[in-house]
């Protein structure tokens, strides 16, 4: 079966990218206006909104960088997982429903639109767009690098592309990404997010089960190996230390609660009453995918410490290497020759998070393009009295 390894991996990647392109075409046929392009027609259901939100949060950073951080720093980065879960609650209580109400009332098709409607000011629109643009550039670069790194890792593992460069992988993955972003707009993005999110949940759970048995003696033995080498790495603060972890906890909770690609998705749900169920889907999905984040990092660190695996070239290789080299079975002798079903899972699970976050971010500073998009006429800015009325519904209504 080992001769099928490369074709199966390549086939899975091609199938995945093909599906993304098909979704792009499908979404293009359903996109008729700026509202469709930027807000998916504001017709999303509970499941798709929830899944799109958590898959945008998890992203390449979570699936590639997360295990790398656990491998490198021990338990430190688990605080990021905890902070994201907290930030969902903070964002929903503070902003979720409110932004959706403003989006519905004023036909806002972006976060800057909603802010401008709230304050009745072009300056706030410009400042919000500028803040998003500045804040997202670095993150977008990281996501682009993450998807190229994973693609390179997958392709190099096959016999057909042993020396494919990172730049080539950036071009390939970005081409697919840009194609379905441009053709299908946010509709393509959220549906690919949903597809990727489902893959991430399934893969996260299956990979977690694999990590429980891949180390000789089980997961407890793996953690004991880390503990024996460095007690702090297996402790609650990891190697980064308590203050570093708490700084992350504070910064990521407040920061993630304001991430525009998440807030914008909340504005797309069809009925504001349905927003109630979104956090349930989001947190459930995120928790399942976070299993991969924590488990791979710990097991890879233990494998390297115990000498069962050579040291990685870089911490970010932890997830790709684990997924490609460690089979579904416990038998370490079969490493690198995992069964086809397992290899499909490997290819899919590493492909899925590559695009999920980047697509959202590609479209973020859309307020700038809004003005030039013909056919969209949002409601005029509300009068001061209307704003007060909406505001009173949203925040301070105390009557009856």
């Amino acid at each position: 079966m080992s001769e099928l390894r490369s074709p199966i991996i390549l086939g899975s990647v091609a199938l995945y990218m093909g599906l993304c392109i098909v979704v792009g075409f499908w979404a293009m046929r359903r996109t008729h206006s700026a509202k469709d392009f930027f807000m998916a027609g504001r017709q999303l259901g509970i499941m798709i909104t929830g899944i799109a939100i958590f898959s945008s949060t998890m992203s390449g950073f979570g699936f590639v960088g997360g295990p790398g951080l656990v491998y490198s720093l021990g338990m430190s980065s688990v605080w990021m997982v905890i902070s994201v879960s907290t930030s969902y609650a903070v964002a929903d209580f503070l902003l979720g429903k409110r932004l959706r109400l403003f989006a519905g009332a004023f036909d806002a098709i972006s976060l800057p639109d909603a802010v401008a409607a709230r304050y009745g000011s072009e300056a706030t629109r410009f400042l919000t767009a500028l803040a998003i643009l500045l804040g997202i550039l670095g993150y977008l670069a990281t996501q682009t690098l993450a998807m190229a790194t994973v693609l390179q890792s997958i392709l190099v593992g096959t016999e057909y592309f042993p020396e494919v460069s990172l730049v080539t992988c950036v071009v390939i993955s970005s081409s697919v990404l840009v194609f379905y972003c441009v053709t299908g707009g946010i509709l393509a993005s959220v549906y690919t997010d949903m597809f990727q999110g489902i893959v991430m949940v399934v893969a996260g759970f299956l990979v977690f089960l694999t990590t429980l048995v891949v180390f000789e003696g089980g997961a407890t033995a793996a953690v004991a190996t880390i503990l024996a080498d460095d007690a702090e790495a297996a402790g609650p603060w990891g190697t980064l230390g308590m203050i570093g972890c708490l700084s992350w906890y504070f910064m990521f909770t407040v920061g993630a609660a304001g991430q525009p690609q998440i807030l914008t998705k909340g504005m797309m749900i069809a009925r504001v009453q349905n927003y109630r169920w979104v956090p349930l889907v989001t947190v459930f999905g995120y928790t399942l995918t976070a299993l991969l984040w924590v488990s791979i990092g710990l097991v890879m660190r233990a494998l390297v410490l115990s000498g069962a695996h050579p040291e990685l070239a870089g911490a970010d290789a932890a997830a790709p290497i684990f997924l490609q080299q460690y089979p579904c079975s416990r038998d370490s002798s079969s490493r690198g020759s995992s069964p086809p079903s397992c290899r499909r899972r490997i290819a899919f699970s590493t492909s899925a998070p590559r695009l999920s976050c980047t697509t959202s971010r590609k479209r973020l500073p859309d307020a700038r393009s809004r003005a030039s998009f013909s056919g969209h006429a949002s409601a005029p800015w509300p009068s001061r009295s209307s704003r007060r009325s909406l505001h009173s519904i949203r925040i301070t209504r105390t009557r009856g």
Binding site: S85, T86, V90, F93, G235, L240, I243, Y249, R276, G400
Partner: protein, 178 residues
């Protein structure tokens, strides 16, 4: 108003804790050090050497941060939400989170000198408290949102009033365009 007090108070506590932490001299390898054998890994070193003088200040920072998040959630709910029953569950959730937080600190303090570590579901005690105790509490906050949405976030009256405002805005928009 009480939640606003909690919001401001917890933020002040966060600032005070951070200021005190910044003025505390660093001991040992506070942020870790390179691993002796593997260049791609970091090492924590001695827990007591780097945390002895910041553990309880860090504890204050963490507790204040938790209170701050809960206050933000309360601040985001309807103004009369506390009268509609938001207060007790939110405060109870915060109390549970703080209980796990203190348990985590005490448990870590006992083991940071190299004391015996017990395992729970594959993780050492303090890490298990973090992952199996503190993390689920954050999920509880999300569940509170789901459970109390119709009472604390968007009531039927709110929605009806919203619909009226939207109609008003649309009529105004139509008048302008015609």
């Amino acid at each position: 108003m009480r939640f606003l007090t909690l919001l401001v108070g917890s933020l002040v506590l966060v600032i005070v804790a951070v200021a005190l932490l910044l003025s505390t001299p660093e001991l040992g390898d506070v942020g870790g050090k390179p691993h002796e054998r593997f260049s791609t890994m970091a090492s924590g070193g001695s827990g007591s050497a780097r945390h002895a003088n910041v553990l309880w200040l860090g504890g204050l920072f963490g507790a204040a941060a938790l209170a701050y998040y809960v206050a933000l959630m309360a601040f985001g709910a309807r103004k009369d939400a506390s009268l509609r029953g938001l207060g007790p569950p939110l405060v109870a959730s915060l109390a549970v989170a703080l209980a796990f937080w203190v348990w985590l600190l005490v448990s870590y303090a006992r083991t940071m000198d190299g004391g015996a570590v017990s395992f729970f579901l594959t993780l050492p005690g303090p890490s298990a408290i973090m992952l199996y105790g503190l993390f689920p509490v954050t999920i509880l906050f999300n569940l509170l949102y789901v459970i109390g949405y119709n009472r604390w976030i968007l009531t039927k009256d709110d929605y009806e009033e919203y619909e009226r405002v939207v109609q008003k805005i649309r009529k105004k928009s139509q008048r302008r365009s015609s």
